[in-house]
Structure formats: C-alpha cells, structure tokens
Amino acid sequence: MHEEPILRVESLRQHFRINRSFTVKAVEDVSFEIRRGETYGLVGESGSGKSTIGRSIIRLYKPTGGRVVFDGVELSGRLDAKASRHLRTRMQMIFQDPMASLNPRKKVIDIIAEGLDNHHLYTSARDREEKVLAILDKVGLSREHAKRYPHQFSGGQRQRIGIARALVMNPSLIIADEAISALDVSIQSQIVNLMKDIQKETRITYLFIAHDLSMVRYISDRIGVLHRGHLVEMGRTQEIFSRPLHPYTISLLSAIPKPDPRAARLSSSVPYDDAASGIDYAKGHVRHVAGDHYVLATEAEFAKWMAAPAART
C-alpha cells in the first residue's frame, strides 16, 4: 500500500482551561494522515480549530490528548532531547503576518540563520552565510537583501523571508498557517507558485491552513474540513469539490465568491446552522465514502447524505 505517512495525527484533542468551570474544547478527536510530498489543506471558519491543530502538532501547545507521529518519531507526551531536536529541525512553520513574525531589530541574515545558530548546523561563519544566501536565491530575493531589516521589505518579500527561514533548516514538513491571507492577490499567486516550485524540487510536504477555499483548492492534494473542532469531511480535493456530503462543507463551498459576474449573481449561499440541523458531531463516526473520501456522520445521516444528489459547486 502507501509508504509510511510523514505525519500521523490520532485522536488529537486540545482543550484550553479558562477557569474552574469553563474549558474551551478547541480540537476534539481529530485524526488524519499526511503523505510524504503532498499538500494537505485544512479549511474551516475562524474558531474551527484549524490553527490550533497546526500549533499543537508543532508543539506550540501541549496537546491534551491523542498521538502525533512525525517521520516515525512519536511527538506526544513529554519530548526527550532527541525527539525535540528532530521536531525543531525537521518541521517548520510559516506564519500569517510576516511583519509580526519577523524580529524588527534583526537583519534578514540573522533572522534566517537563527535556526542554524540554535542547532549549530554550520561549520564556519562563511558556511552560515553561504547557506543563507543560497536560500535567499531560492525564494527569489537577492543577496543584497541579507543585510537589510524587515521593515525595508514589502509584504510579499517579507513572506519570502518567512519561507526562507523555514526552508533553511531543510525540513520535511512545513506548516503554513494562513501564509498568504495577508497578501495582495497578485502577490498571493507569486508566493503560491514559489511554494509549489520548492515542493517539486525537494518533495517537501505542506500542511496548508487557510480559509480561502479557492486557493486551498488550487494548492492542496487532499483537504480536511474542520468545524467546531471536529474534522467533518476529508478527501482528495477533487472528491470534496465534486461531491461534498456534509452540510457544512456544502455551505462552505457555496460561499466561495466566483470571479464570474453572471454565475455569481445566480448563485446564493447555502446557510448552515448546526444547532438547527440537529447534527451532533460527538455522535458521528468517520465513515468511508469512496476512494480517499471520508465523512463524519451517524448511520442515519450517512444514508441520507449518500442518497442526496450530488450538489453543484
């Protein structure tokens, strides 16, 4: 069958205790796998837990429950030095706002080399510089940029620095949390193309977290749809878009604005109200639809959705 997935997430739970009587259950029982060299898109509305999942995987949060296995190394529970080093070097993250995530008081070369510094991944100062310059080339920045500060760059260039910082560690998985949402349309496509080019060259794996479905559709091989901390539907991009089953997915897809005036005027968004629809995510189980396509449903819901004619997107 398939080779061992690069990342396996099993029943991940992430709760945040606010006070004695109130706990936010941001992620509830989420399981998925990411295969080597693919792009996995996580989509959902704000508060659905998509960013939390990314941050729990890379251990910015300590997961409440569940297992995360990355590259054959168990990352749940207490990390020993070896696992920690494996995680910090082989998995990297790109954040949404490149202005907020780059230290304004450091030069680009030092920002990019920070990971190398922490893990002593170079032999000499010369080697360090060479590594940074090579990465700058790769992300489409020039060598002179290394001595500048973040504020001297435009938004798109800053995001390139963010990507360079992740790439310099030569990771096998990059978590891109809304990495293009803050950029202008014409710059978004530049960054997406850059990420795709790098993937072709290095077979790197992306976990792409976003709310912009049209971009997710373009970049992802497989998609997971999140709602209220539950993964309600997952499958190959084509499967999800051609035959969405879960009412939430259908609602989400119907809301994508299309750049086609006549079609946009005819279509209207399908509302979804999970309280009114009577769907209780906790009661559902993940059920197999076809191929790689799975949906979270109870038996009755599953039968009903399967019988419904395929919705047009």
């Binding site: 509305e45 704000s46 435009s154 938004g155 798109g156 260039q157 202008d184 349309v185 014409s186 710059i187 978004q188 496509s189 530049q190 997406v192 193309n193 795709k196 709310h211 912009d212 479905l213 049209s214 971009m215 559709r217 373009y218 991009t237 084509q238 878009f241 609602s251 989400l252 119907s254 809301a255 994508i256 604005p257 299309k258 750049p259 086609d260 005036p261 006549r262 079609a263 946009a264 005027r265 005819l266 209207s268 968004s269 509302p271 979804y272």
Partner: protein
C-alpha cells in the same frame, strides 16, 4: 439596467492627493475621475497602495491630517425631500462643515474590522442612536424606535434585547450587521463599504453581501465597495473601477470588465485567480512589485511589470480611451495605432468557458 433617469449623485474630477511622510511626499492619487448614480453599486478594486481607500476617505472628507488635496473636486448633489437640490464640493468644505453636513449623515462608511469600529464601552443601542440624535436632533424615544427597525432590517432577531448588549457579546458577523445598521441610521445617500467582509469568514461574508444587496433594493442607497477580492466584486457590483498606483486604469460595467478586460493589469489580476475548475498547473502571477509612490514616473506606472509595454508607456501616461459602452481603459494598447494584442490565451479560454457554462444554466 440603463434607465434614462440615472440621477448623478457624486462626481469626482481630477482628484489628486499627496501625503507628507517622513521620507518625502507620497503621491497617492494621480487624477481620478469617477461618477456615481443613485441606487447603483460601484466597486473600486486594487492592491494595497493603489489609492482605493484614499479615494473613499476623500469622499467622506476624513483624510488624515498629513494629506493634501493638490487639485480636483468631489461634487455631491443632495436632493431634499421637498425636491430642492443642493451641491456640495467636499474638497472645499471645512472640516466642521463636513462633520455636520456630510460625514455619517449623507455619506456613511462601513469599515473592515467590526471590532475596532464599534465602541466597546457603549451598548449597541446607544451607538446606533448616537448619529441620529447628533445629526437630526431626534428625541430618545424616536431614535430608539428607529434603531430597533434598523436592527430588524439588518437581520438581527430580538432587537429590543440586542440594543442593551455590548459589542463583545456578539459574533463577528453580528457586529458587522450592527456597523451596517449604524451606517444606515441617518438614511445616507451613499454607503461606502471599505473591505466590509475581509475580516469575516466566507460563509458569513456571503450573507453580509446578500444583506447589503437587499438593503440597497429597499432604500435605493448608492454603494461603493472598496475591495481587492474580485469574487466579491463579481457578486455585487454594477460598475467596476480598477485602480493601480493612484490612477483608475480601467472602468466599465461589470460584464464589460470581467468578460472583455482590456488593460494588461486587469488581465493579470483575473489570470492570477485560481481557476474555478482548479486544473491549471501553475497560477499566473504578475511579475515584480507595485511601484513606490514616493517616486514620480513619467509614463504608465504599470509598464515595468508589463511584458507588453510599448516604448511610449515609459514616456507618456496613457489617456482614458473609450472602448465602447461604458468601458474606458487607460492603456496605450487601446490606441488605434498600437499593435493589436489580444487577451492572454489562458484567460480567453477561461472567459469562454464561463460564458458557455452560463449559457447552459440559462
């Protein structure tokens, strides 16, 4: 759509604005001409720094203090209930006059982030009533009745209870509805929506856009959308103006611009959107970065990023060419003596497939 009784409500002529910044004069708007008619929706599209928000702020008379209007006029025509018309040139009004006559009263604005545009220490009700009491001197009870009507209009249930709540008790979509209710509280002629849905989720975004459309049908308010999302534009606008580096480079009726774009920048924008079929191997991207507005340039600001730039593009800024209907384009490619360059092949194919798909639906 084109009725003979289109009533012009706002006309912007040759608007030219600079900002004094620590690194010199930033020439943000470089001669804008735009007309607005009652009950219609115009979308101003552009990237950050193209001048779309500056245009909106100039219309509202709320430019920041380092802004300077070098030339031009913004004439707003108000028709009172008794039929008497009065014209105001917003550019020449003092800040005090703008405050009492225009801002919030005749022209209202919905901002991007509903959390920062609502006052967290005031109840929803008081915030909606505030403008009515200030501009029209309505009594408290009158204003309250009207505020409840407005909340119902924007689709908030149980208005009486919501009036007593604070912004933090509402969800993002609900807050944006409240902001819209506040904007509508003085029956404005023009509603400016500056990225009204960027901070909201897609599902909520669709509902807010549908709401604004409904309200427009009921109240005949003129709506200006400021956005960079072409999907939003396609859904709501009657007319589009595409801005680049402080100029309008293409404008026209929505179908003219989306189905028959003429400016290379518009081609780039439309091509860089992911294909609706999601099949293309690579996204088109416009090479380079927008120019720095601190510098002056003699020709077409888009020329350095334009693979089709002509020699003249580097020397002379293109005038607005009339390419039929309401369609205008500022590109030398539209000149009769320029080489005939058509749409990029992929974009042409995409537009073809959109049109044929729509024909099937109809």
């Amino acid at each position: 759509m084109d009725t003979p009784t289109r009533e012009r409500i706002l006309s912007i002529r040759d608007l030219d604005i600079s900002f004094a910044t620590s690194s010199g004069m930033l020439h943000a708007l470089r001669g804008i001409k735009l007309d607005l008619f009652r009950g219609e929706t115009v979308a101003i599209v552009g990237e950050s720094g193209s001048g779309k928000s500056v245009t909106a702020k100039a219309i509202m008379g709320i430019l920041s203090s380092n802004g300077r209007i070098n030339s031009g006029s913004i004439v707003y025509r108000h028709v009172a209930a008794d039929g008497g018309a009065r014209e105001y040139d917003i550019v020449r009004m003092s800040q005090k006059e703008v405050r009492s006559e225009i801002c919030g009263k005749r022209i209202a604005m919905v901002f991007q982030d509903p959390m920062t545009s609502l006052n967290p220490t005031m109840t929803i009700g008081r915030q909606i009533m505030e403008a009515m009491r200030y501009h029209y001197g309505r009594s408290r009870s009158e204003a309250r009745t009207r505020a409840e009507e407005l909340l119902a209009l924007v689709g908030i249930d149980n208005p009486g209870r919501r009036m007593r709540q604070y912004p933090n008790e509402l969800s993002g979509g609900m807050r944006q509805r409240v902001v819209i209710a506040i904007a509508l509280s003085c029956d404005p002629d023009i509603l400016i929506c500056d990225e009204p849905t960027t901070a909201l989720d897609v599902t909520v975004q669709a509902r807010i856009l549908e709401l604004i459309k409904d309200i427009q049908e009921k109240t005949r308010v003129t709506v200006i959308y400021i956005t960079h999302n072409l999907g939003v534009v396609a859904k709501v606008a009657d007319y589009v103006a595409v801005m680049y580096a402080g100029r309008i480079i293409e404008k026209g009726a929505i179908e003219e611009v989306f189905y028959d774009p003429r400016h290379p920048y518009t081609w780039g924008l439309l091509s860089s959107l992911p294909d609706t079929a999601g099949t293309a191997e690579r996204l088109y991207s416009i090479p380079g970065n927008p120019i720095n507005l601190l510098n002056e340039f003699p020709g077409d600001a888009f020329a350095p990023r334009n693979q089709l730039a002509l020699n003249i593009d580097y020397r002379l800024p293109p005038p607005m060419f009339n390419v039929g209907g309401k369609h205008r384009v500022a590109s030398w490619l539209a000149h009769e003596r320029s080489p005939k360059v058509g749409l990029p092949v992929e974009l042409r194919a995409r537009i073809q497939s959109m049109l044929s798909e729509n024909a099937l639906d109809a």
